[in-house]
């Protein structure tokens, strides 16, 4: 039932001459359908954790399984394929391809998957409506507000029905009201579409939304609590 299984994951970065131990042995098991927050101050290793789970970055040691795939055995091209079909990403900012409109940004993933054009457009429009962007299909990213851009990013991350969406501080660049709106929307998607969401944050308001809250500090899991509503 676990969609993510990490065992004793370690990762060290070199920043110039300094070695930064971003992950010092993290083990993490996340169930399908979860709405999980990775909490911790900046530099705690939460972004690295997300990158490792998404196959954007590889762990130095330990094993990472995503939806039954052992990431450390996969090639770059296979990882790209995994991201394409199983994982959606939402970043803090600059999520969108600037030369593509909102609709085209959402379509892009399906294009890569080889979804036929009519279905692509139908689904993209439907999901943009779902995230509250009806009528703004043809706006370019520069013509959308920060909150709207993040909604497009979320729409894009879930349009291809991934098993898991990884969101790295999705609300960090938004004011609290817009942030709340985005989280409501994400939660709705989580419940409606049964997509697993894992997001990082250091904002308590955001943590309140999570059904499971994992605290990370200095590359280690320091607290892990499941909240029931």
């Amino acid at each position: 039932m676990n969609i993510v299984e990490c065992t004793d994951v370690k990762k060290t970065y070199r920043l110039g001459k300094v070695a930064v131990r971003a992950l010092r042995g993290v083990s993490l098991f996340i169930k399908r359908g979860g709405f999980v927050a990775l909490a911790g101050p900046s530099g705690s290793g939460k972004t690295t954790m997300l990158n490792v789970i998404g196959g954007l970055d590889s762990a130095d040691s330990g094993s990472v399984m995503v939806d039954g795939n052992a990431l450390d055995e996969m090639t770059q091209s296979q990882l790209a394929n995994l991201r394409l079909h199983k994982v959606g990403f939402v970043f803090q900012a600059y999520n969108l391809i600037p030369v593509l409109s909102a609709l085209e940004n959402v379509e892009f993933v399906m294009l890569l998957q080889g979804v036929p054009v009519t279905e692509r457009q139908k689904r993209a429009k439907a999901i943009l409506d779902d995230v509250g962007l009806e009528g703004k299909y043809n706006r370019r990213p520069a013509e959308l507000s920060g909150g709207q851009q993040q909604r497009v990013a979320v729409a894009r991350s879930i349009v291809s029905n991934p098993s898991i969406v990884l969101a790295d501080e999705p609300t960090a660049n938004l004011d609290s009201k817009t942030g709340k709106g985005l989280l409501e929307m994400m939660k709705e998607m989580n419940e409606k579409r049964k997509v697993t969401f894992i997001f990082s944050t250091h904002d308590h308001m955001v943590m309140d939304y999570a059904r499971r809250l994992i605290h990370i500090r200095d590359g280690l899991v320091v607290d892990d609590q499941v909240k029931e509503k």
């Binding site: 954007l56 770059q76 995994l82 991201r83 970043f91 600059y94 391809i97 030369v99 593509l100 294009l111």
Partner: protein, 412 residues
Amino acid sequence: MSIDLKMAWRNIWRNSRRSILTILAIAFASLLLVFMLSWQFGSYDAMINSAVKIHTGHVQVQAKGYKNKRSIRLVVPDPAEVGDILEKTPGVAAYSFRTNAFSLVSSKERTYGAIVIGIDPVREAKVSTLEKLVHQGNYLSAGDTDQALLGKLLAKNLLVGLGDELVVLGQGRDGSIAATMVKVKGIFSSGQDEFDRSTIHIPLKYFQDVYTMYEAVHEVVVLVKSLEYVPEIKRTVAAGIENTNKKGHLVALDWMELMPGLIQAIQMDLVSGFIFYIILIVVVAFSILNTFLMTIFERTREFGVLMALGTTPGRLTKLLLIESTTMTMVGIVIGIIGGSLITWYFQEHGIVISGASELMRQYGLAERMFPQLSVLSVVIGSGAVLVITLLTALYPALRVRRLRPVEAMMSV
């Protein structure tokens, strides 16, 4: 329009100033190449045409060995037989017969050595420009006997004018003395000093009588309808000769064999031209390489996002190549249009290279030159630009494969 193309097109105009400069560089190179190649091809055509029409024709039938020895004894004994073959060969525009003999030509005052050429006035007018080159007096007519056309410089050296008499003294085909008196009927000027200084033309029949040639001639000169027919016609004529009883004695030669200097000069000009063009294109390629490279540095983060979305490195390479190809194609199209317009203008009006007319005349070129726009002159240059530019674009497009998503995302 596919989304890839759409992205490429929009990306090009994200930094319009830079893209325009890049496109202009490519357009400049293709424009120059279209024009220069049209110019070169035009001048080759003019050179070949004028050389063929003044000197050799496209194809000749001669006795074997005549080309180098020019001996009066090496003849085509039965020109009518060769004529029959030519009548039946498709693509032949006209043919004529010529005889040549080196002789002493004397006026009252002077004596010079010259090549006396026997021509059939009617046939000759169809294969060569001689008739048009006569600028004083008249061209020979069918019934003429002791009349002569004189090169302008020879006339000057001999101090003679129209109507003056010349004594011609040479050796006949049988070794006897050939001597006669001719009147200057016309004076011609080809602009090629060597030709104008050393030739005198008399009617073929008269020549054959004086030099005891009987029916024989030295050259059967063939003009074909178009340059590309030459190899085919040469083959047909050579095969035709094989069927006569003179096989092994006669040969068919094309203009390239008759004037090896001309074709080699053209080849040299082409090759040296290409050296210049390739260097030019390489300079342009390095000039625009930075534009292509900049793209990947500036958009690294964007590529990170694309990769996070699951775009494979191969797809990124493709996207970048579409972008650079589009830019190159726009440049080339502008270059071709501009180059064709400029070429077309000069094709109508001609170009005068001041001060070089004397020089060009010696190569059979008129003072006013006409470039010649052709599919070839358009395709070769722009093709070379396209290939080299795309090779240049390959480097950044392949480099992007080395990007790793996380590093890409961290760069700003």
